[in-house]
């Protein structure tokens, strides 16, 4: 059976301010989708809403995974249903070792019916798998003993997210700017790592400004977001066009969305100025 993640007419607000204004997107298992768009267009919001961030209010529309409505699930329910998000800025968890964190996470995701307090997957088996995945991603074994994202460099954080992706083996993964803040070599490594994990084994939504990450992961579909909507969808050539020529053509072709985008980003600026 093939899995389908379907987003229909999704409207989202935060603190009463509209951010997503009718997003439609359907992804099949095994497909790679690129989500591009200028700053403030709503890309990260879409990722966080799919993952279940409690700070966003869905005012209209639906998100279904294999016809199951996931909007009623908290983030952990969605993770267990097979959703994963690699964060743009992963958060550090002081005092919690990467291996312990991942063992618990892996257990919960692989045994969605596990109750709190029930046993975790066997240490031996888990360690073996973790070691093998870390070798595959060319990560220092010491990594597993460090506290989650604590004192990690930008590159280490992103690789830690990819390691989590590899261990959790979701049905659908959203990679939010997994390339940002990395130098060219690090992006190449991240990109090839994602390819090695087997993008054909999941549905991938890659949120990016650049096409580097797409080098090893050519998208079947490229979506362009502007003003809280997906305004254009194309193939890998669209991603290449946006990367080389920017968003001018898009902005001109969709004046309503462009206006909305400017409103959203100017509000951001105002908020920054106040905050």
């Amino acid at each position: 059976m093939t899995h389908v993640l379907k987003i229909e007419n999704l409207h989202v607000s935060v603190n009463g301010k509209s951010i997503l204004r009718g997003v439609n997107l359907t992804m099949n298992h095994g497909e790679t989708h690129a989500l591009m768009g200028p700053n403030g267009s709503g890309k990260s919001t879409l990722g966080l809403v799919i993952a279940g961030h409690p700070g966003y209010e869905v005012t209209e529309g639906s998100i279904t995974l294999d016809d199951q409505d996931i909007l009623d699930l908290e983030a952990d329910g969605r993770a267990r249903a097979g959703i994963f998000m690699a964060f743009q800025r992963p958060i550090s968890v002081p005092g919690v070792k990467m291996a312990d964190f991942l063992r618990h996470a892996t257990t919960n995701v692989r045994r969605p019916d596990r109750k709190e307090g029930e046993e975790l997957i066997a240490m031996r088996e888990f360690r073996k798998e973790l070691k093998q995945k870390m070798e595959q991603l060319r990560m220092d074994p010491e990594f597993a003993r460090r506290y989650v994202n604590d004192g990690f460099s930008g590159g280490e954080m992103k690789r830690a997210e990819i390691l989590q992706l590899a261990m959790l083996q979701p049905k659908f993964a959203i990679l939010d700017e997994t390339d940002s803040g990395l130098d060219a070599d690090a992006v190449r490594l991240a990109s090839s790592s994602i390819a090695e994990i087997g993008r054909e084994k999941m549905g991938l939504l890659i949120i990016t400004h650049h096409d580097k990450l797409l080098e090893h992961n050519p998208p079947e579909f490229t979506h362009v977001m502007l003003g809280g909507r997906i305004v254009e969808t194309g193939g890998v050539d669209l991603a290449q066009e946006l990367h080389s020529q920017g968003y001018d053509r898009i902005r001109q072709a969709h004046p309503d969305a462009e206006r909305a985008n400017q409103e959203m980003t100017s509000d951001d600026q105002a908020e920054l100025a106040v905050g």
């Binding site: 409690p54 908290e74 998000m85 968890v93 996470a105 919960n108």
Partner: protein, 444 residues
């Protein structure tokens, strides 16, 4: 193994009760005199009030001394900790060199490795040893915890009913820990005193835990702990209290650490309705070193007050202090910490830090660090933080499949990990980790 069964009566904390208690005991004269003097101090001293700095954030409303009394011997009923439903968290995975079990302050069971005994190590019931090893005890008992510092200290000094002595002679290293489990039944009272003396170059590990028969049990604990670490000696001391949520706990803990000696002191406070603990370390000889680790985890309406002092009396000493508290519900913690440096204590290296994690909007953590430095060539640093659990962190963990409760439990455990990383006794690390995990509740 020795088990003592004496006909038990309950003596009130009044003049005739005290007389009865003293007359019934077969103690050396010096000790009786000692008790009588402390009793006079108790009678002539007022209860502490909030005008005193250490008690300014304490709340003694509801405390009634006449609700409690002193057993003169082992009460009838359960005569072992397991029969009384008293847990022993720190015993897991430990092969102690000796142990003492007390119930309501009376020794129910004790044992010491015979090889250590033949090396001159004394360990066991302080009251029994007050006759058998009178010299050692007379020389050190209440030599550093002063009975006249307040009314609770005086009462405890006058009426301590049992307790433990550890005496390790010069140069003797005790590899396995010595273990004390103190149990308290509902509405009972424990006034036990701990005296630890490590002679020059000696080494030992001492684990103490106090538990009630149930989480909701009431009771009174008046505690005294005196630790004397002589030159070149090394002690690791662990004190875990998980008294019932209705227990009043007043304790005075003090250590002196002499030349080139060290003390690693780990405190874990989970229980009691109200606790007022004074914890002091005095570095009295050149090159002495102390490390204090504190784990406080509160819930309900618990109110824990810790007044701590790192007193540098000699040059070239190092004191390191870290207390971490996590608070649930409407609980409250107060930490008032002081580093005191005497004029002669040059080249002091002092550090103190207190971090608080607020798991509820209604919890409150007061953190009051202080420095009093009378020498001019020292390095002293201090700091404190208080904050809530980061919601973004909870979301991050939830997005990895953790339930909200599991996420909070993990965050709390991680918060304390910095302390666990400093504790060098594996069984203690594990026991504390489990104790904390058991008590984490829903966070919203």
């Amino acid at each position: 193994m020795t088990t003592s069964h004496v006909e038990s009566e309950i003596c009130q904390f009044d003049a005739s009760g005290f007389e009865h208690f003293v007359e019934g005991s077969q103690e050396p004269d010096w000790l009786t005199q000692h008790r009588r003097q402390a009793w006079r101090t108790f009678e002539s001293t007022a209860w502490p009030d909030r005008k005193q700095e250490d008690w300014a954030r304490s709340d003694l409303r509801g405390f009634k001394l006449d609700h409690y009394g002193l057993p003169t011997g082992l009460p009838s009923g359960p005569d072992s900790l397991s029969d009384a439903n008293i847990p022993c968290w720190l015993a897991d995975g430990v092969q102690p060199a000796g142990y003492v079990h007390t119930l309501n302050g009376c020794v129910v069971k004790e044992e010491l490795d015979t090889k250590l005994a033949s090396q001159g190590v004394l360990f066991g019931d302080l009251r029994r040893l007050a006759s058998e090893a009178s010299d050692v005890i007379q020389a050190h008992l209440h030599s550093i915890v002063q009975p006249d510092q307040n009314r609770f200290a005086a009462l405890q000094a006058a009426t301590w009913n049992a307790g433990q002595l550890l005496f390790v002679p010069r140069g003797v290293r005790v590899e396995q820990p010595l273990y004390v489990a103190a149990g308290l039944t509902h509405e009972a009272c424990d006034t036990a005193h701990t005296l630890i003396v490590l002679e020059e170059g000696a080494e030992a590990t001492f684990l103490y835990e106090g538990n009630s028969e149930s989480a909701g049990a009431k009771g009174l604990h008046l505690g005294g702990v005196e630790i004397v670490v002589k030159p070149g000696a090394h002690l690791r001391y662990v004190n875990l209290q998980d008294w019932g949520r209705g227990v009043w706990n007043f304790a005075h803990h003090r250590a002196t650490v002499d030349r080139d000696a060290s003390l690693q002191w780990t405190v874990a406070a989970l229980g009691s309705r109200f606790s007022q603990v004074g914890q002091q370390v005095s570095l009295v000889g050149e090159g002495a070193h102390s490390q204090v680790n504190g784990v406080l985890f509160t819930q309900g309406k618990q109110h824990l007050v810790y007044n701590t002092l790192q007193h540098h009396e000699a040059p070239h000493c190092r004191s390191d202090f870290l207390y971490k508290a996590a608070l649930q519900d409407k609980s409250r913690t107060v930490w008032r910490g002081m580093i005191g440096v005497d004029p002669e204590a040059q080249k002091t290296d002092g550090y103190q830090r207190n971090d608080n994690l607020l798991l509820s909007d209604q919890a409150r953590a007061d953190s009051i660090p202080g420095l009093e430095i009378l020498a001019d060539d020292v390095r002293c640093t201090h700091g404190s933080t208080s904050g809530k659990v980061d919601e973004e962190l909870i979301f991050y963990a939830q997005s990895r499949g953790f339930t909200r409760k599991e996420a909070v439990r993990m965050i709390v455990t991680g918060f304390f990990q910095q302390i666990f990383d400093r504790i060098t006794i594996e069984s203690v690390r594990e026991a504390l980790g489990l104790s904390i995990a058991r008590q984490v509740r829903e966070y919203s």
